[in-house]
């Protein structure tokens, strides 16, 4: 039987669903323009994060064990809502500029967030899979939102085909795990784990699960789609995809691998560590060669997936905390960076090349400063958010006897400094000869303000943030 608690624990999901239905209704009735949908979406996301905030100190399973709400999932809901708000703020100027501002964007955005929240609070492999599919469907369509542009079509189609392929792996993995455990419930799997963790069937299921989720987080060797999709998709969507999408997928990975499977020290952990090392090396090295900023950040996101995987491979509560903290840092930083790129991008899709940023500080000193802040944070320079994330993740890896992985991480971080700082060099130490770009509109300024402030806050007060999702630590 359903009780009041069930609904209370799933409140963020309900508020999101109600909001999106409201937007669909107003869109269908043509009551408001796309702006009204944007307003509704942001309001709904604010309400959702408020409700999730109320759930921060609650924990329990709801809907017959289908979802589990706790501090971590509520915290991630807030983070995802924040990513949604920033994306919604940036989306209007971006699409209006291109004459492609449509209410459907917000519908799909909110649906994607529903899927992500489901992933972050999944307590059953079925819920997890449905959440992933819900998110992916929306992202496939969003990647080709301006459907008259060939590049976006290519991006959407590539993402869709490869994503469907990955989903098949994921589903097969779930089926095999169900076959060896006899249940899809994560609690039941956790109870049975000790007895079956060496069963070939179960290991095979886990491997397929890793393939499926590895695709969603763009870890090497399942990263091939990322550069093309990230470059082709509308920049606002890329930003959302790279941050919220990755956060939700990593939350799911952390929940399954650390909380359910307890992989610490096992072969699975070693496999994940290998994937992590490969992602760090490949992502960072290839990013150096990129001249397009979107493409560069795509490879950088592959590298960041590597750092995050190091936290998962540690397999400890510390690693779990590290992953969540890193996700926070990565999300706020990358969202801001993509907001800047979206502002700088011209309607003909030019202006994303590194050369276009030459001497930006002379024209728009504030924006250049904010962008520099993001780049410092992505490199992992203290006292910004990125540093804290890396610190916690590598710490967890060292404590879990994965010192070599932490060393690889630190070394590749040093490599990454080259291409992140190159952006700053371009902006500050070269003469401007390009066109003058007017200041971004107010919503973009607000978005930049929020993300920049959070980059500093998370960097300075990590323990406060940690307290939010890990009350015990």
């Amino acid at each position: 039987m359903l009780t009041y608690t069930d609904f209370l624990l799933a409140m963020p999901l309900f508020s999101l669903t109600v909001t999106v239905l409201l937007i669909i209704a107003t869109e269908a009735a043509r009551v408001g323009r796309a702006r009204f949908s944007q307003f509704l979406a942001i309001t709904g996301l604010l309400v959702t994060s408020l409700l999730a905030g109320l759930n921060l100190r609650e924990s329990g399973v709801a809907f017959q064990g289908m979802i589990a709400t706790d501090a971590a999932s509520s915290y991630l809901t807030i983070l995802l809502s924040l990513a949604g708000i920033v994306t919604a703020l940036v989306a209007r100027p971006y699409f209006e500029h291109r004459d492609a501002h449509r209410g459907e964007f917000y519908i799909l955005l909110l649906f994607a967030i529903i899927g992500m929240v489901l992933m972050a609070s999944a307590n059953d492999l079925i819920t997890l899979f449905l959440g992933i599919e819900l998110m992916s469907f929306c992202l496939y369509v969003l990647a080709g939102f301006e459907r008259t542009k060939d590049k976006q079509n290519e991006s959407a189609l590539k993402y869709f085909l490869l994503g469907a392929f990955a989903s098949a792996f994921l589903l097969y993995g779930i089926a095999l795990i169900y076959g060896s455990v006899g249940s899809t419930n994560l609690d039941a799997i956790a109870r049975a784990y000790a007895g079956i963790s060496n069963q070939p069937l179960f290991l095979l299921g886990t491997a397929m699960l890793i393939v499926g989720l590895g695709f969603k987080v763009a870890a090497v060797p399942f990263h091939m789609w990322a550069p093309d999709v990230y470059e082709g998709a509308p920049t606002v969507v890329t930003g959302f995809m790279a941050t919220a999408g990755k956060s939700a997928a990593f939350a799911a990975l952390a929940i399954v691998m650390i909380r359910t499977f307890d992989i610490g020290g096992s072969t699975t952990a070693d496999v994940l560590a290998l994937l992590a090392a490969a992602s760090m090396v490949l992502g960072n090295v290839v990013a150096i060669a990129q001249t397009n900023l979107k493409r560069m950040l795509a490879y950088s996101s592959v590298a960041h997936a590597g750092y995050l995987l190091a936290g998962v491979a540690a397999g400890t509560a510390e690693g779990f905390a590290g992953v969540f903290l890193y996700l926070t840092a990565y999300t706020v930083t990358t969202l801001g960076a993509f907001a800047v790129i979206g502002w700088h991008e011209r309607t003909n899709d030019e202006g994303t090349s590194l050369d276009d940023y030459v001497g930006l500080s002379q024209h728009q000193p504030v924006i250049a400063a904010v962008m520099a802040l993001y780049m410092f944070s992505l490199t992992g320079i203290p006292p910004f958010a990125g540093f804290i994330g890396k610190y916690y993740v590598f710490m967890a890896a060292v404590r879990a006897d994965l010192t070599w992985l932490a060393i690889v991480g630190v070394l590749t971080s040093a490599v990454s400094a080259f291409y992140y700082l190159r952006v700053i060099v371009m902006m500050y130490f070269r003469e401007r000869d390009g066109e003058h770009i007017p200041l971004p509109r107010i919503p973009v300024m607000i978005a930049l303000g929020i993300t920049a402030a959070l980059v500093i806050v998370v960097g300075v007060l990590p323990s406060t943030v940690l307290q939010l999702f890990m009350p015990a630590m």
Binding site: Q64, D99, E104, I114, I126, V141, T148, P200, L201, L204
Partner: protein, 167 residues
């Protein structure tokens, strides 16, 4: 061998044979037809396992719905039915290696697993009421999420396929 075993092996051969045709056929229409036989055999498997509801739904959705869409796609995009849809030999060898490795691992895992055996239900009990009840109790949330998923597919399809609005 009783009728049950005979039909099991018959459908197994049909399933595998038609699946092989799907993969290897050079003719895209023939591949689509073979896929129809594959899907029908899967429906037959469900029925053999006394999951009549799932079997019929398989028929209704895959054979009656999805495959029609595939055929539509084939018919509208290509008039030449003998188009070669296969890649050259450069792709073949790695593909063979990868698939045989995965297949070998899968077969090994399936072979070495001690499957919990259970006497097959030989009586036809109506499964639809049980499934319906489960959807509204234990699996209420996934059921509703699945409907949300369909709504998303609808919105997305409408977005991609709509007529361009004149501004």
């Amino acid at each position: 061998m009783d009728l049950y075993t005979i039909s099991f092996y018959m459908f197994a051969v049909l399933l595998l044979g038609s699946a092989i045709v799907v993969v290897f056929s050079r003719n895209i229409v023939r591949a689509a037809f073979a896929l129809m036989i594959t899907l029908l055999s899967i429906a037959a498997f469900y029925v053999l396992m006394m999951a009549d509801f799932v079997g019929i739904v398989q028929l209704l959705l895959y054979v009656g719905g999805i495959l029609v869409l595939i055929l539509f796609g084939v018919m509208l995009t290509n008039r030449q039915i003998s188009v070669d849809i296969r890649e050259g030999a450069i792709q073949t060898i790695p593909a063979v290696i990868v698939t045989s490795t995965i297949g070998g691992i899968l077969a090994g895992a399936i072979w070495s697993t001690a499957w919990p055996m259970r006497e097959a239900a030989r009586s036809v009990a109506a499964t639809a009421p049980v499934i319906g009840e489960m959807f509204l109790t234990t699996y209420l949330l996934p059921f509703e999420v699945a409907s949300v998923l369909l709504l998303v597919a609808l919105v997305g399809a409408a977005l991609i396929a709509r007529r361009e609005r004149k501004s």
